[in-house]
Amino acid sequence: MNHIVCIAHVPDTETKIRIAAGGVSIDEADVKWIVSPYDEYALEEALKTKEAKGGTVTAITFGPARADTGLRECLARGADDAIRIASEGLGEVDSLGVARLLAGVIKTLPHDVVWMGNKGVGTDAQVLVPMLAELLDLPHVNLVTKLEWKDGGVLARREIEGAQEIVEMPLPGVIGATKGLNEPRYASLKGIMGAKKKTIAVKTPADAGVDPATVAGEAVHVRWTKLELPPARQAVKLIPADDPAKAATELLRLLRDEAKVL
C-alpha cells in the first residue's frame, strides 16, 4: 500500500509570538518549528500500517526551505521519501491554494491512503482534510481515534459532540488523524543518520501542474488582513480562601450578580 502523509511545519506551541511588521504575519525570528502534533499521529499510523502490510510512506509538505527540517524528522522516523512543494515567492496562499498544490503533486503519485492531521496547529484552520479529499475526488474520514483495516477499506471511529461515530470508508481515501489514534514514536539514532543521506525532492507549483496565478495574489479568497496580540485580560479578582464556605458563597454571588453567568 502506498501512503502519503501531509505535514504542516508549524511554530512550537511554547514559542513566543510576535507580530511582524506589516501586521499580517508572525515574526519568524527565534521561532522554533515543529511537525504539527496531529500530523505526528498521521505519520505514526502510516508507518505502523506499512510495517504490518508493506508499502511505502511519502511525507509531503508545502512550505519554505525551513520545512525541510520537518520532512527530515519524518524520514528519520521511517518515511521512505519526502517531497517539498516550494512556497518561496508565492506570498499568501489560502487553504484552498494549499489543497490545490498538494492535490496536484499527490495525483502524480500512487496513493492508497492520504494521511493528514485534523488541524495544522497554530493557524488551526481545520479545513484541509475535506478540501484535499474533494480535490482528489476521494472520500475522507476526519478526527479518527481508532482504525480497523477491512478488505478494501477501513472502519474508523471518531468523536463527535456527545457521541462516537463509526465510519466505513473504501480505499483509496483520506484519513484525518487526531489524538488517541496512537503514540507517535521518536526517531532512532539509526533513523536520524539514515535520514541525513536521503534527498528531499523539491517541486515547484508548475511541477504540481498548478499555475501560481491560480493560488496566489488575486486568487487568494480568504486573506489574513490583520494579526494582533489579544487584548490584555483584566487582572484576576482573588477571593480570600481562609473560610472555604464564605469564599464559595462570595464567588457564586459574583458569578451571579457581577459576571451574570449564573
Binding site: 487553504s95 484552498l96 479545513v127 478526527l143 456527545g162 462516537q164 463509526i166 490583520k226 494582533e228 489579544p230
Partner: protein, 326 residues
C-alpha cells in the same frame, strides 16, 4: 445584496442549537445587506423541521429527505448543500463549526473553488465582503480574515456557543423546497453512532464547564467535580494530564489536542494553565481558577480566582450553588 444559505445540522430529527445560532447570524447578515435567507437540511424523515427554521427567519428551507441520508455522510450532506446553493445562488454560505460543519463546509467550498473563513468568533459583512476574527497560535494572537472580492461564494463556519440564537420577530415563510439529489455517490459513511453516557453534556456544546486537572489526584475525585456540574448544569472537562493518566476519556479533554470551547463560564480546578490548555478555553467569557499555587499561570487568564485546596473549595461551591438555587 447578499443571499445567505445556512447549512442546518440535525441529529435524530432535532436541529442542533449551534445551527440555530448560525441561522440567526445568517439572518442578521442578510438583513444588513438586504438579501434573502434560506436553510438547507439533510436527513431522513425530517421535512417537519421547516417550521422551526421559518421561526428563525428562513424564507426557504431546502430539504434533502432520503433514507440513505439517515446517518451522516460528508458526500451525501455536501451534495444537499451543493444542490441548495445551485438553486438559491447565495453569496454567503454558513455552517456552524461543529464536527459536521467542519466536514461539509470545506468540501463544499473546495467544490466551488473557494476557501473558508474557518471557526470565526465574530463575523460581519461590509460592501458584500465577509470579515471575521478568531484566535490563532494557541490564543497568543488574533487574526482578522477577509473574503476577497474574487470569491463568488463566501463560506464561513462560525464557532458554536459564541453567537446568540434568537427567533425572528416575525416568522418567515419557510417555504419547503424538496431537493432531488438523483443517485448519490456516498463512499465514506457513518454506519453506527454510539451516544455518550446519558445525561452527560458534551464540553464542546456546553455553556458552563467544570474542569479537573492533575490537581484532582485521581479518578475517584471526579465525583467531587460532578456534584458541582450537577448543580450548575455544567459539563465535565479535563486537562490532558488527567486524560493521559487514564482518569477519564479523551472526549472530555479541553485544549490544543482536545476540544476548543467557548462557554460563558469555565471553572478550572487543579489545572495549572499550560499554554496548550489555554488554547482550548482562553476564549471563555468568564474563567474561574481554583488552584493551591498562587503562581499557577491559570490565574493570568482567570476572571475570578481562589487560591486554595480544591477538595475544600469545590464541595463548598456545590453547597453554595444549592443555596443559591433554593
Amino acid at each position: 445584496m447578499s443571499n445567505v444559505l445556512v447549512f442546518i445540522e440535525q441529529r435524530d430529527g432535532k436541529v442542533r442549537k449551534s445551527s440555530l445560532e448560525a441561522l440567526t447570524l445568517g439572518r442578521n447578515l442578510s438583513a444588513k445587506t438586504g438579501g434573502a435567507l434560506a436553510a438547507v437540511v439533510a436527513g431522513s424523515g425530517i421535512s417537519g423541521l421547516a417550521a422551526e427554521l421559518a421561526g428563525y427567519g428562513a424564507a426557504k428551507v431546502f430539504v434533502a429527505d432520503k433514507p440513505e441520508l439517515q446517518l451522516f455522510s460528508c458526500e451525501g450532506y455536501t451534495a444537499a448543500l451543493d444542490a441548495a446553493a445551485t438553486a438559491f445562488k447565495p453569496s454567503i454560505v454558513l455552517a456552524s463549526a461543529t464536527v459536521m460543519g467542519r466536514d461539509v463546509a470545506p468540501r463544499f467550498a473546495a467544490r466551488r473553488g473557494v476557501s473558508v473563513l474557518s471557526d470565526v468568533m465574530t463575523l460581519d459583512v461590509a460592501a458584500g465582503r465577509l470579515t471575521g476574527e478568531r484566535p490563532v497560535y494557541s490564543g497568543k494572537a488574533r487574526v482578522l480574515v477577509t473574503a476577497a472580492p474574487s470569491a463568488e461564494i463566501q463560506v464561513a463556519t462560525p464557532r458554536p456557543n459564541v453567537f446568540p440564537a434568537s427567533k425572528a420577530d416575525v416568522a418567515a415563510a419557510g417555504e419547503v423546497v424538496p431537493l432531488d439529489l438523483g443517485t448519490l455517490r456516498i463512499r465514506a459513511k457513518v454506519v453506527k453512532v454510539e451516544a455518550a453516557q446519558a445525561g452527560e453534556i458534551d464540553v464542546a456544546e456546553a455553556d458552563k464547564i467544570v474542569t479537573g486537572g492533575r490537581g484532582i489526584k485521581g479518578p475517584e475525585s471526579w465525583s467531587v467535580l460532578r456534584a458541582l456540574c450537577h448543580e450548575l448544569g455544567a459539563a465535565l472537562g479535563a486537562s490532558r494530564a488527567a486524560v493521559d493518566a487514564g482518569w477519564i476519556g479523551h472526549e472530555h479533554q479541553v485544549g490544543q489536542t482536545g476540544k476548543v470551547v467557548s462557554p460563558s463560564l469555565y471553572i478550572a480546578c487543579g489545572v495549572s494553565g499550560a499554554i496548550q490548555h489555554l488554547a482550548g478555553m482562553g476564549s471563555s467569557k468568564v474563567i474561574v481558577a481554583i488552584n493551591k499555587d498562587p503562581e499557577a499561570p491559570i490565574f493570568k487568564v482567570a476572571t475570578y480566582g481562589i487560591v486554595g485546596d480544591l477538595f475544600q473549595i469545590v464541595p463548598a461551591m456545590t453547597e453554595a450553588a444549592k443555596k443559591l438555587k433554593a
